[in-house]
Amino acid sequence: MSFLAVTRSTLSKDIRLEWRSKDAINAMLFFSLLVVVIFSFAFDPTAEESRRIAGGLIWVAVLFAAVVALNQTWARELRNQVLDGYRVSPAPAAPLFMAKALGNFLFVIAIEAVMTPLFVAFYKLRALGPAWELLPIALLGTWALVVNGTFFAAVSLRTRSREIMLPLLLFPLSIPALLGMVNATTAVLSGEESARFWVALLIAYDVIFTVACLLFFETILEAE
């Protein structure tokens, strides 16, 4: 089977599963709503202040919400030995990883689409820079979180207390990506400087780690 065929069939299976059960998306939605509400109680900024801190708040909320979904990515494949099925099947490992990462990417993007208007309303946000730039920043930043998150969810599968292991592995590695997302978003919101450097950093991060994940995923999948 070709790379695309395996990716497509696994991705459509995951989307169908999620569409019927709505496990991850409901948990993430409610969780991120809680985060927005709690942040809005914890900080009560003016419009000027909120421009400076909103970039950080949004991405931290997304990061926490994404971990909820990422933790379920591979754990659900343990039931009924689905993962063992993948291991013995002749399909290569890389497209399986790609499908899982794309699925998580779609779920997290859906959450962001719901959270962003809430943030705008709660924090009285209005971008002073070019607001359309937020879209590529969101796509690149989400991929940066999700690609390594999917990979490390597979790594933490064979550990004690794996739910906590994923953030422990993911957060330190994601620091440059997080710096990129937060600073790019803040640059656009405050309109004081260009976000170009940070977008370039995000692109570099995405390329390097996508390649690394695809190369090493088979090793992780076989490590039983």
Binding site: V155, T159, P176, W198, F209, I220
Partner: protein
């Protein structure tokens, strides 16, 4: 083997006391910072030693991924453990120096400070993973994570490079304004710290080898018990 370790331990002890004497008494006092600057002789050699050990960890992890050599795995583990200890020394001595000189404990935008902190976080998470792993293939998984950590370092560096840096930069390297006598003391200290790191790594290596032999013997024994 045992005699080698004893010899190295004696040499390390002598070197460390000599280096301490050099750093506290022989080295000239810095003109503007005064005696506080002497922490530099502990801070910088620890940092170099930690970075060297993290490099060893990366090289051993790659070797392990290619050759599946157990020795490389144990060396990677030992280098990460000892490296984290030296990195902790760097992160503790840094703020002690920074408070009187910069007036602040910590400069969040500074490139070397933050890179070192992120390195420390990455290798601590590597060690936690090794401790928590229930898989029989901990070594493989850990080697992959170590490789990812090494890939992350240049990105961390560039991301923080974009902020302005506060660290005293060209003391070492181009146009170094460091007094030649200070250089000598610094290098003596580094040699002493390398001996200490070597000693710690060597004993830890032997301990890990012994631990694995015991585990293997226990597994064999339970197999034998089970088959009877």
């Amino acid at each position: 083997m045992k005699r080698g370790i004893t010899a190295l331990a004696v040499i390390t002890g002598l070197m460390l006391s000599f280096a301490l004497y050099e750093a506290l008494v022989v080295a000239p006092t810095e003109r503007t910072m005064g005696d506080v600057q002497r922490i530099f002789y502990y801070h910088v050699p620890s940092a170099w030693t930690a970075f060297l050990l993290f490099l060893i960890n990366f090289v051993c992890s790659v070797i392990f991924l290619i050759r599946r050599n157990t020795k490389a795995d144990i060396l990677a583990l030992v280098a990460a453990e000892v490296g984290v200890v030296f990195c902790t020394v760097v992160l503790v001595t840094g703020p002690i120096w920074a408070r009187p000189v910069w007036g602040i404990w910590w400069a969040p935008g500074d490139i070397r400070l933050t890179t070192t902190l992120v390195l420390w976080l990455i290798y601590v998470s590597y060690l936690v993973l090794r401790r928590f792993s229930t898989s029989g293939q901990t070594a493989v998984v850990a080697a992959v994570v170590a490789t990812f950590g090494a890939l992350d370092v240049p990105l961390v560096y560039f991301s923080i490079w974009f902020f302005r840096t506060q660290h005293p930069s060209p003391v070492i390297g181009d146009g170094g304004s460091l007094d030649p006598r200070m250089w000598v003391v610094l290098l003596i200290n580094w040699a002493a710290f390398l001996c200490l790191a070597g000693l710690a790594s060597w004993t830890r290596y032997l301990l890990e080898v012994a631990k694995r032999e015991v585990e293997e013997a226990e597994a064999l024994e339970s197999l034998y018990e089970g088959s009877r």
